[in-house]
């Protein structure tokens, strides 16, 4: 055949044969979990103040910012004998539908109190769609650490000038 050089073809055979004795590059996922970058955007978390009050004041800005419309917030007034958050109001219902969420992080940007942040969890599969609706209790709970996270110090570069000035 004019288009196939015999010698080159044999060289190709030698290459594939040699590859067989090298260690495969595959990362065997469930056994080996590649450490995540510290700023990896995974499942959301809601945060508390140090005195135990919720940071979320039920303002619904996250829900407004959400492009896939997966956050539902129903606010209620704090009262003297039922103080939940530090502000005037609190989120009586706070739900995130993770089957819709695109993990863009706009909710985190929109939040005026840093009450919601995106954590590092990404192993979120469930057998039912209903189980993917995370309620406030689930979002407040300390997540089980399943995937190692790389040392943030490795990525701790000085902030750019425009960030430090403001």
């Amino acid at each position: 055949m004019s288009t196939m050089q015999p010698l080159g073809t044999l060289k190709g055979f030698a290459v594939t044969f040699r590859q067989m004795f090298k260690k495969p590059l595959t990362q065997q996922y469930p056994e080996y979990k590649r450490p995540l970058y510290p700023r990896f955007r995974g499942r959301h978390r809601l945060h508390l103040h140090e005195d135990g009050l919720e940071k979320c004041v039920g303002c619904s800005l996250c829900a407004a910012a959400c492009p896939s419309d997966c956050i539902r917030v129903v606010a209620a007034e704090n009262t003297a004998d039922n103080r939940v958050s530090a502000g005037e109001r609190y989120a009586r219902i706070y739900e995130i539908n993770l089957s819709r969420c695109i993990f863009c992080g706009y909710c985190e940007l929109a939040c005026p109190f840093d009450a919601i942040t995106l954590g590092n969890e990404f192993e979120l599969s469930e057998y039912s769609r209903d189980d993917l609706i995370y309620t406030k209790d689930m979002l407040l709970a300390e997540p089980i650490k399943r995937v190692p996270i790389q040392d943030p110090a490795l990525f701790d570069t000085p902030l750019p000038a425009y960030r430090t000035q403001s």
Partner: protein, 342 residues
């Protein structure tokens, strides 16, 4: 004690039946683990592991695949011709499985007082039978593609048909040299002649050209890379079995792999000395030597698939008609002249 010396009638009929059952199961198990070996070896050649989740080292993967295929819905295209659509995989699988019966794999043993020969059937025209039944199997592919009533399946089956018909000529001609040297069409005789003539030298050495032509044409015959034009995914989705699913698809895949095993078995028998090893020792372990040679040859096919890119269709046809066919013809003519002259 040579197997050829015994007449076919010397063996009890139920022994043949048991042997046929054993051979068919060995072939099927070889098929199942060939799919695993292919994925594993190709994986390692591409710096991957290949399937390693089902059981230790992925050894249960073929069983998992089978269970998946059997449990799948046997769907049916609305426009398909039903009888042909359903029977096409059966034709392909039946033709593929039945050819192995004439390939010898041992010298024959006396077990518990009964004489057991090392083959299922010693047909005097075994080679012609293999090619004839192999050609019948092509009907399965053509009919399957035609009856699906789908353009990709039809294109795929037309390609299969053109390719298999053109390469079958070279395949048959490449074998002619061996037939001339052995002066027999029976595979049992051919194996025997390789052992007794020429100091245990298998026909791969005097018939090196024929062997290479047989390997190339055989690769094309079984539609394996780099001649896997009938299944060129990029152009044809999947070829003639585009519209097939579930175990019907499984039967087509089985037919292809069993064809490959049969072809490798035929190459071992015709060119590599069959179940013999050079020298006068250990000949009674024929099946082991046969399986080792078969495995080595199957590895070469897998290796080839992992190495070579697919040919273009015109290159394939040109290679078949303008290179392989003349070479095979010249080889046959030269062999004929030498056999007569010597």
């Amino acid at each position: 004690m040579s197997a050829v010396l015994l007449a076919a009638g010397a063996e009890r009929w139920w022994i043949s039946l048991i042997k046929a059952a054993i051979v068919i199961n060995v072939v099927l198990v070889t098929f199942a683990y060939l799919t695993l070996a292919e994925r594993k070896v190709m994986g390692r050649m591409q710096l991957r592991y290949g399937p390693n989740r089902a059981g230790p080292f992925g050894l249960l993967q073929p069983i998992a695949d089978l269970v998946k295929l059997v449990r799948k819905e046997s769907f049916f295209p609305g426009a398909a011709i039903d009888v042909l659509y359903i029977f096409a995989p059966f034709i392909a699988a039946f033709a593929a499985l039945s050819t192995f019966s004439v390939i010898p794999w041992g010298p024959g043993w006396t077990i518990a007082g009964y004489y057991v020969t090392g083959y299922v059937a010693n047909v005097p025209i075994a080679l012609i039978l293999i090619f004839a039944v192999g050609s019948l199997g092509i009907y399965g592919f053509i009919v399957g593609g035609w009856s699906s009533d789908s353009k990709y399946a039809l294109l795929g089956s037309m390609r299969t048909c053109a390719q298999l018909v053109s390469y079958e000529v070279s395949l048959a001609l490449s074998v002619l040299g061996v037939i001339l040297m052995a002066r027999s069409l029976s595979l049992v005789d051919i194996v025997d002649r390789q052992y007794h003539d020429l100091w245990y030298v298998p026909y791969a050495i005097p018939q090196l050209v024929g062997f290479l032509v047989f390997l190339f044409a055989g690769t094309a015959e079984t539609a394996r890379a780099p001649f896997d034009l009938p299944e060129a995914e990029q152009e044809l989705v999947a070829g003639y079995h585009t519209e097939y699913g579930g175990m019907r698809f499984g039967l087509f895949t089985m037919a292809e792999y069993v064809n490959l095993i049969t072809l490798s078995g035929l190459a071992v028998t015709l060119f590599l000395g069959g179940w013999h090893i050079p020298g006068p020792w250990l000949q009674q372990y024929g099946p082991i030597w046969f399986l080792l040679k078969l495995g080595a040859l199957l590895f070469v096919f897998i290796w080839m698939r992992a190495t070579l890119p697919r040919l273009r269709y015109d290159q394939l046809m040109r290679f078949g008609w303008k290179v392989l066919l003349p070479v095979a013809t010249i080889n046959a003519v030269v062999t004929a002249v030498l056999v007569v002259a010597l």
